[in-house]
Amino acid sequence: MDLIQIRGGNLVDHESDSQRTQYCRFDVVAFGSVVVVGGGGCWLNQSVMGLAESCKLTYIVGGSAYLPCVERLVMRKDLCLIVRYPYVTGTSVIGIKYKDGILIAADMGGSYGSTIRYKSVERIKPIGKHSLLGASGEISDFQEILRNLDELILYDNMWDDGNTLGPKEVHNYLTRMMYNRRNKFNPLWNSLVLGGVKNGQKYLGTVSMIGVHYEDNHVATGFGNHLAKPILRDEWHEDLSFEDGVRLLEKCMRVLLYRDRSAVNKLQIAKLTEEGVTVSPPYALKTHWEFNSFKNPSAGAEGSW
C-alpha cells in the first residue's frame, strides 16, 4: 500500500468567477490504491468525498483521508471543511460556587505553542450585570465571543424594560454558539466557564468547543479537569466562606502551577455576588521548591558538561 503526501492548500482565485470564489488547489497524485490528501488543515469537500465513496473510501482521520486514485481537484474554499488550530492559548480556568456567589480563578498566561508568550492576558471578564465568563483555549476566539456577548447584552439593555439576561440564558446562548460553530467544522477553540448570580440564585456552568455543556457546583477546564477537580470533589462543600473559597482555588492553582507547563505564576480571582463583580488585581502564589531532589540536580548523573 503506497502512501503519498500531497502538497496542496494553495489558494487560487478563479478569475472567471464573477464572485471571486476562492479555490483550493490540491495536487493529488496517486500511486497505487491509496492517497493522502492534506495540506493547510483542509478536510475534503463533499464532491471529493462523493468521488471517494464511489471509489471505496476507507476512512478519514484528522486532516487526512485515505482515497483511491483521484485526479487533480479544485475545491471551493467555502465548501472546504476547516478545523483550525489554536495559536495563542490560555490554560485552565476553575470556578466554584460559594456562600455569596461565584468565584472563578485563571492565570494570566497566553502561550504560543510551547512558549509562554504573553503574561498579562485577562481571561475572566464580566458579562452584563449578572455573569462572569472565563475562557481557556484560543485567546482570539475568546475575544470574538466577548464581542458577540457584548452585542447580546447591548440589545438586552436597549429593551430597557426591567428584564435582563441572567447567567442561565447566557450559558445557553454560548452553548448554541459553540455547538453551531462545531457543526460547521469551524469551532471556537475554547472551553468556557460561565458563572453568575441572579435573584439570589447561583449558577455555574461550562461549555466546551464542541458544545458539551453542563452545570455544577465546581467546574474546571483543560488541565484543571485532571488536577483541580479531584481536589474540589474532596474539599468543596456548600456555603464556603469567601476566604475558604479563595484558599481552595489557590490550592488548585498551585497544583496547576507546579504541574501544568503552560501555567504562569500570575493569576486573578474574580468574585461575583448579587451586589456585583470584582476581579482581583494580578498576584502570584508562593511556591516551594526546597525539595531534596532539587537540591543537587546532578547527584544521580554526574556529567562533564
Binding site: 428584564n163 440564558e169 445557553n172
Partner: protein
C-alpha cells in the same frame, strides 16, 4: 364611520391625518364577541364569550395558550388571531431554545406590535383585524397588554374588547382598584361577572363562556366546564352581594330564546368591512 375617498388603501392618509383602513380594522375588533382580561400582582385571568356560528356548530376558539407563562384572548377576525398566536408561540419556543428561559411578555408584545405596524405601512398588505389581550408573567410580575390592529399596545390592570364590552369595562372600572392584591379566585369571580355584563340578559352558563388563568407557579390553563359551572352556581347563590353594587341584577332570569336570537349577526369573520 362613512365611506370616503381616502379609505381605499392603508397607505393613504386622509386630510385630517387619519388612516381609515386601520380604523376600519379596529371596527372589526369591536364587532367580535367579547373578551376580557384582568390581573393581580401574581395572576392574570382571561375570559371570553363563546360564540357559535349556528346551533349545530361548536364555538370559536378565542383563547390560546402561547406558552406556560403567556396566554392570549382575541376579538375580531379569529383567523388573523390564530395566525398571530402561532407567531407568538414560535417566538416563545425560539427564545426558549436559544436562552432556555421564558420570553418576557413585554418583549413579545412589542414584537407583535411591530408586526402589526408593518401591515399599516405596506400597500400590498392589510392590517390584522384582531385585537389581542395578552396576559403573561415576567420578572416584574403579572402583566396584561392589549395589542391593537394599529400597532399600538397598552398595558392594563383590566380591559375588555369586542361587542358590548363597554358594559364589562364599566364593571371593571368600578372594581379594578382591588385587583392588584386580589386572590386568584377573586379575580376569576370578577372575570365571570364582567362576562355576565357583556351578555346583558342572556343566560350565563359554562357553555357560553371560557375562562383561562395563569400565574406565579401556575402555568396557563383553561378552566374546564365543570369548574366554571360550579363557580357560576356559587355566585348565583351569593347574589345578594353583587346585587348591592349592580342595580340590574334582576334580569338574571332566563330569556333564552329571545336573548340568543337577539345576538347581532356580526360574528367574527362573517361580517365584511362594509358599513
Amino acid at each position: 364611520m362613512f365611506r370616503n375617498q381616502y379609505d381605499t388603501d392603508v397607505t393613504t392618509w386622509s386630510p385630517a391625518g387619519r388612516l381609515f383602513q386601520v380604523e376600519y380594522a379596529m371596527e372589526a375588533v369591536k364587532q367580535g364577541s367579547a373578551a376580557i382580561g384582568l390581573r393581580s400582582k401574581t395572576h392574570v385571568v382571561l375570559g371570553c364569550v363563546n360564540k357559535a356560528q349556528s346551533e349545530l356548530s361548536s364555538h370559536q376558539k378565542k383563547i390560546f395558550k402561547v406558552d406556560d407563562h403567556i396566554g392570549v384572548a382575541i376579538a375580531g377576525l379569529t383567523a388573523d388571531g390564530r395566525v398571530l398566536s402561532k407567531y407568538m408561540r414560535n417566538e416563545c419556543i425560539n427564545y426558549g431554545f436559544g436562552y432556555e428561559g421564558k420570553l418576557p411578555v413585554g418583549r413579545l408584545v412589542v414584537q407583535l406590535a411591530d408586526k402589526a405596524q408593518v401591515c399599516t405601512q405596506r400597500s400590498w398588505k392589510r392590517p390584522y383585524g384582531v385585537g389581542l389581550l395578552v396576559g403573561g408573567l415576567d420578572e416584574s410580575g403579572a402583566h396584561l397588554y392589549y395589542n391593537c390592529p394599529s400597532g399600538n399596545y397598552f398595558e392594563y390592570q383590566a380591559f375588555a374588547i369586542g361587542s358590548r364590552s363597554q358594559a364589562a369595562k364599566t364593571y371593571l372600572e368600578r372594581k379594578f382598584e382591588t385587583f392588584t392584591d386580589a386572590s386568584k379566585d377573586e379575580l376569576i369571580r370578577h372575570a365571570i361577572f364582567a362576562i355576565k355584563e357583556t351578555l346583558q340578559g342572556e343566560k350565563l352558563t359554562s357553555s357560553t363562556c371560557t375562562i383561562a388563568v395563569l400565574g406565579v407557579g401556575e402555568p396557563f390553563h383553561i378552566l374546564n366546564q365543570q369548574a366554571i359551572e360550579e363557580l357560576i352556581k356559587s355566585f348565583e347563590i351569593a347574589e345578594e352581594e353583587p346585587a348591592a353594587d349592580e342595580p340590574d341584577a334582576a334580569p338574571e332570569v332566563e330569556q333564552p330564546a329571545a336573548g340568543d336570537q337577539a345576538a347581532p349577526p356580526a360574528d367574527e369573520g362573517a361580517a365584511p368591512m362594509e358599513i
